[in-house]
Assembly symmetry: D2
Homo-oligomer: 139 residues x 4
């Protein structure tokens, strides 16, 4: 089984660095989202693709391990890896690298579930279009 | 005619200060919004009050003049002053002070218009409930 | 041993809610920081207290489990609990509640380490003032 | 005299749109900064170029006129135009366009002054390197 992966680069904004001169830790959650969206565009499962299917995919778990700091002037390379699972969930793993020298600066993961957009109820099974997506890309 | 005014205090967050150790200028727009919301709560014209009337009040103009810097550890006092006008608009003026010594750090203003929430069309006259509000508070 | 805890309330800003009308998940990391800072003010170990001792305390791990959504108009109650540990680290646990009905909306934790502010090197032992703090408050 | 201009494109992030589904007005200030930075990279006067010269260039005035809304899924084209002036200031004008159809969505301007980085005192004349820059590019 091949690993589904996307790599995208994000420019660090001046206002994302804090008084210590380093990127504030909360922004890494944003870089993960940038990674998920780039992955979603590449493989057809972005937020807007889900909306069209009347499904929303809220985050139920997010975590980040910070290894090195990032500074204003750096760019961050976001590697987003889809982690297959049996349950009605979407799991991604992330590796963040400093663009200039490819130092690993952080790792993380997020878990999303499926909600019916109108009723906001949890879907206990994968929506049909996502099952098809898995058939096409994951297996 | 009396001046309609609200004063609220906002704690500056660590992540709102930039690598120069001072609050990033973009956040002042947020403090203006904090001021408008505090004003809205006090006088019954917050965002949610407008929603109930099927009206949204987007910003069409915002400006800020920066006089002194704010640091992490400071609190900012936001003075929000309603500026009456004939047109179907809402104008506010803002004065931001450092809480500790009441130094004036910035002034600004915003203008909002009325849109029908469903059709997103511009209302050329004040909505009835806002006209009533003006009768009650502004004259 | 008594549990060291702080409880603070944070008003949700309009711009913290996303197109789904609910607070964007990344902002919870900010509420954790609001909680840590309120705890730090109460017990004398805020960011600025560390700076004075020439120590910075970067986050090396953060995680959040999302259980319910928050909306604009809600306030969030942040419960911050200090978790004692032997290592040269600071661990906090967080419980976020919707202020109106005390529903638990999220739980999380963060880990911080100590760096010398000038050399940016990791301190392998607790700084003296933090050891004193632990003697005073934790034991 | 030729007009100095840069055009850059910024992807709108999910978390930049508010509960009305449109980009929160405060983020436009950020797009202006993205524009200034892209201009600065192109012409050698980014924040970091100033730092190297021991000069910081804080914003003293910012304003934005909002004409149309932007949605998540849109990209915004930021046109940044340098406006020559005699005083020791940097003035930029901005035009924001929706990338898909080039609708003008907002206009704005910012003014920056020069401060000595160490003393934080206002420079009443252009720093030498900026005077050279003007000789080279503006005249």
């Amino acid at each position: 089984m091949k690993e589904l992966k996307d790599t995208t680069e994000v420019l660090i904004r001046f206002n994302e660095a804090d008084p210590l001169g380093i990127v504030w830790h909360g922004h890494y959650i944003r870089y993960f989202e940038d990674g998920r969206e780039a992955f979603g565009k590449k493989y057809g499962i972005g937020y807007l693709d889900f909306f069209k299917e009347n499904v929303v995919v809220p985050i139920v778990h997010a975590e980040c391990n910070y290894k090195k700091s990032l500074k204003f002037g750096d760019s961050v390379v976001v590697e987003t890896i889809y982690e297959p699972c049996e349950a009605a969930k979407i799991n991604f793993r992330f590796n963040l690298y400093k663009a200039s020298d490819r130092t690993l600066v952080a790792t993380g993961r997020t878990t999303q579930v499926f909600l019916d957009k109108d009723t906001q109820t949890l879907l206990l099974n994968n929506p049909a279009f996502f099952e098809e997506w898995k058939q096409k890309f994951v297996k």
